[in-house]
């Protein structure tokens, strides 16, 4: 049988998106953890990790290896099956969302007509895992953390989804590529201008959805030890950790894709004209915009204190929800007028 490189390529081609997404996810998280520690250190005038490798570069690798070799302690009162299932349910949907996001014009693993809808459907599944983790641990801190997380997630989901409705009106589609293509042609075609209120609402809700300061009540260290993952150790904890940082990255990419033109160039034209280089340039613009958003979220973490539980709920229902509805009406009317 004649076997050449081309056959090999065809056999392995369908595997590429899977390996690509898995590698991207792990790489992004390893970089993001280091970045967060360095940025927080810089903002609070500390040094941050600086022992492992040059300038602390290898710190996250060391942490990852340590977590892999850690003993997995399971509480004797825990529900063993659900306790093991919870980190998987939290992690898996986040990974599927990576496949639904267009990183460049062609680097999108799952291109569906209902892509945007599916992203939010999957991100809600994570909440189920967190409640499961809290309940199955049979620990008071975990249970409180899990319940708070559920209450917070469902409260912030509503303004989030309604502000995204404005994007569906503007683009006339739920396909992620269509949404990005509708914003092509430079800075002034971005969705952020007609849907500015929606952008603000989505940005605040995103921080709440990934449970970060000032909305990190589910994990409030000073009251709940570590919230829903108090009882977790070893690789199960690592999966929660991985899911949390992946979610931070993916929600930032989502903000960029929906409001800031996604992978398109803010100049309105591409600096490079060769097809291969255009891909790299698109990825470059996406990464630049995404890390600007991530940096802002980290900056907020270093600046603001934590909210109180009642303030947190009131803020979503009494402020963000009316604002999101106003945004939807403004966008709908704007679309008719322009």
């Amino acid at each position: 049988m004649n076997f050449n490189l081309n056959d090999l390529f065809i056999v392995f081609w369908p595997v590429v998106p899977f390996i690509g997404v898995a590698a991207l996810l792990v790489f992004v998280v390893i970089f993001l953890v280091l970045m967060e520690r360095k940025v927080l250190a810089w903002l609070t005038i500390r040094k941050g990790p600086n022992r492992v490798g040059p300038g602390g570069w290898l710190q996250t690798f060391a942490d990852a290896i340590k977590l892999l070799f850690k003993e997995d302690i399971m509480s004797c009162q825990a529900n063993k099956l659900l306790f093991t299932l919870a980190p998987i349910i939290v992690f898996a949907p986040v990974m599927v969302i990576y496949g639904l996001i267009p990183f460049t014009e062609h680097f999108i693993a799952i291109n569906l007509a209902v892509g945007l809808f599916l992203v939010f459907a999957l991100s809600s599944v994570t909440t189920v895992g967190i409640v499961l983790a809290g309940w199955s641990s049979n620990n008071k801190y975990s249970l409180l953390g899990g319940m708070r997380s559920a209450a917070q997630a469902i409260s912030y989901e509503i303004p989030l989804v309604i502000s995204v409705l404005g994007i569906a009106v503007l683009a006339g589609s739920l396909n992620m590529l269509d949404i990005v293509k509708a914003q092509a042609g430079g800075l002034f075609n971005w969705n952020i201008w007609p849907a500015f209120i929606g952008f603000v609402v989505l940005f605040i809700c995103s921080i709440a959805e990934v449970n970060r300061i000032p909305f990190d009540l589910p994990e409030a260290e000073s009251e709940l030890v570590s919230g829903y993952n108090t009882e977790y150790s070893g690789m199960k904890f690592a999966l929660f950790f991985l899911a949390e940082y992946s979610a931070l990255f993916i929600i930032s990419v989502l903000i960029v894709t929906l409001f800031l033109g996604g992978y398109t160039s803010p100049l309105g034209f591409y600096l490079t004209q060769i097809p291969v280089l255009i891909h790299i340039e698109q990825a470059f613009w996406l990464v630049m915009k995404t890390y600007a958003i991530i940096f802002t979220i980290m900056w907020i973490r270093a600046t603001l204190p934590r909210l109180r539980a009642d303030q947190l709920m009131a803020f979503s229902w009494k402020f963000l929800l009316p604002l999101a509805l106003v945004n939807l009406v403004i966008v709908a009317v704007w679309k008719v007028v322009v």
Binding site: L67, D72, M95, N111, M235
Partner: protein, 122 residues
């Protein structure tokens, strides 16, 4: 855009479940196993844990869940309208505004009934 359709979505869900399970199995193989009685107690900052953790919840969680259900279904109903907005025209806009208006009345009612108060006596 090289692969389309829902088959790849199912494959992706399977792959991510496999990825998570593989990480757990890999760690289970290499980790040391040294169980101990005190180690396996629920963590309560060093105190002896007392009572069952699975207590009754405050009813306010339930109220928020109900409100969530209503507004989530509203959003689901509005998605088809939003996607087909260009073809539907002004009549659909007016209808959607009436629909949103009815739900805003519901929100105001819940607000006035203090259902949105976390620290209330609900």
């Amino acid at each position: 855009m090289y692969i389309q359709g829902y088959g790849i979505l199912a494959a992706f869900i399977g792959f991510s479940l496999f990825f998570a399970c593989a990480a757990l199995v890999m760690s289970w193989i290499v980790q040391p196993k040294a169980p101990g009685f005190l180690k396996e107690k629920p963590y309560e900052c060093g105190m002896n844990p007392f009572g069952d953790s699975r207590i009754q919840f405050d009813v306010k969680y339930y109220l928020y869940a109900l409100l969530f259900l209503i507004f989530d279904i509203e959003a689901v109903f509005l998605f088809p309208w939003a996607v087909a907005y260009d073809e539907l025209g002004l009549f659909a806009l007016a209808e959607a505004l009436i629909f949103i208006g009815i739900l805003v009345i519901g929100l105001v009612y819940a607000w006035k009934k203090d259902a949105l108060r976390w620290d209330g006596n609900a």
